[in-house]
């Protein structure tokens, strides 16, 4: 594998994480639990789709046959998407949506902080830009996890259950393979063990304030990074790809 191929894989993973979570949150447009939260979640969706645009745009330039960000976003097969399983999980109730967001934000923020120092200029500048917004996202999702966990009996038990359901998908955020190792050697990307230390600390602090606990069962799911998705992914892509598949080459 060349360094450029490894970088393509890496940028595509970052881009797909943003794209798929952005799409999930966009489903909430007009369906948020309260108006303010409807607006907040779709604002976050917009940021994520903005990140996906830059990342997939960049990924497209790393192939021999140039692909546009639209080609990559809308015209791949399910097994060619490499987002983590966590982000394609359905919105569920508000506790599920916020827990999924929190587990991701707590990972994305330290990752972007470290990617700002990447020796790859393209990646570093996207990280610098995306980090500013991601800080808001993490603050927002952290505060909600605490409010729900430390709220009523009902909100507490619901958000605790959300953590039980989603925690098994969180480990995949730290998936690494030969692409990562190759790029880590050249200081293009950070080692995820350093990101994991910060993630562990953030979730520990927030869960202790929220009064919720990690599941004892350490069941882990993975596969998304290698293109093996959960059953939810097909439905998500049917929505995401509908316009481009129905009207090929359409543009806004």
């Amino acid at each position: 594998m060349t360094k450029q191929e490894a970088l393509y894989n890496y940028v595509l993973r970052l881009g797909d994480d943003s794209l798929i979570l952005g799409q999930r949150l966009a489903e909430l447009c007009g369906h948020g639990p309260i108006l303010e939260e409807d607006i907040a979640l779709t604002n976050i969706s917009l940021d994520l789709i903005g990140q996906a645009t830059l990342l997939l745009d960049y990924a497209g330039t790393l192939r021999s046959e140039t692909k546009s960000n639209d080609d990559l976003a809308f015209l791949r097969l399910e097994k060619e998407y490499v987002n983590v399983l966590l982000l394609e999980q359905p919105n569920g109730h508000f506790g599920d949506t916020i827990m999924r967001q929190f587990l991701f934000d707590a990972f994305r923020k330290p990752l972007l902080e470290k990617l700002q120092d990447s020796s790859d200029k393209g990646l570093a500048s996207i990280a610098e830009k995306a980090l500013k917004e991601t800080k808001y996202h993490l603050k927002h999702s952290s505060e909600w996890v605490i409010r729900l966990g430390d709220g009523t009996d009902e909100s507490h038990s619901k958000v605790q259950e959300s953590l039980h359901t989603l925690y098994r998908y969180a480990h995949e955020l730290f998936f690494e393979d030969e692409s990562d190792f190759l790029l880590q050697k050249s200081k293009i990307v950070p080692e995820l063990s350093a990101v994991k230390l910060e993630w562990d600390k953030t979730i520990k602090d927030v869960f202790s304030m929220a009064g919720i606990s990690l599941p004892e069962n350490n069941w882990k799911f993975e596969g998304g990074r290698q293109g093996r998705h959960s059953e939810h992914m097909g439905y998500l892509l049917a929505d995401l790809q509908y316009m481009q598949r129905t009207y090929p080459n359409m543009e806004w």
């Binding site: 303010e36 939260e37 607006i39 907040a40 604002n43 976050i44 917009l46 940021d47 994520l48 789709i49 903005g50 990140q51 645009t53 830059l54 200029k121 570093a124 500048s125 996207i126 610098e128 830009k129 995306a130 500013k132 917004e133 800080k135 808001y136 603050k139 927002h140 952290s142 505060e143 605490i146 927030v206 304030m209």
Partner: protein
């Protein structure tokens, strides 16, 4: 170059139509190379849907004024911050009813007291944050407890 800058002073942000693209601080550079004008712009928020419109509006403004040999490109680094907004721009925002960005505490602090944002209508500092996310990515939603006016606050973005 002055001519170009004064034309840019006539291009307004489609979502906050009192601010010009110069007030916003999103014009990174204007250069002339081989009789070609190069304008570099930078997005405010990464997914800001106004960016395409802004680029189109600059194009239209140039063409209307007989400038046909130009190129507009986007650069994301260094990343835009609200510090780049001009003082004139901040005043225009306030007059328009949007509270301009204030210095805000560190975002890593959970449940920090929201920043005191004076009401753009009655100047009262007795206001409350309704939601951190407002009508566009760059704004939060506030209400004045004194005069009851709901208003937008242009968030400090750093």
């Amino acid at each position: 170059m002055n001519h170009i800058w004064s034309l840019l002073e006539e291009v307004f942000d489609p979502e906050v139509p009192v601010l010009t693209v110069v007030d916003l601080g999103i014009i990174r550079s204007v250069e002339e190379k081989n009789k070609m004008i190069h304008v570099t712009i930078t997005p405010t928020y990464i997914g800001c849907p106004a960016m395409q419109t802004i680029e189109e509006d600059i194009k239209t403004k140039f063409e209307e004024n007989g400038i046909l040999n130009f190129k507009i490109s986007t650069s994301i680094s260094p990343a835009w911050t609200t510090d780049w907004m001009s003082e004139k721009g901040k005043k225009k925002l306030k007059d328009y009813g949007i509270a301009p960005p204030q210095n805000e505490p560190d975002k890593s602090l959970l449940f920090a007291d929201p920043v005191v944002v004076p009401c753009p209508r009655c100047e009262s500092e007795n206001t409350r944050m309704v939601s951190h996310f407002g009508s566009t990515a760059c704004k939060a939603h506030y209400q004045c407890t004194q005069c009851k006016e709901p208003f937008d606050y242009f968030k400090c973005f750093k």
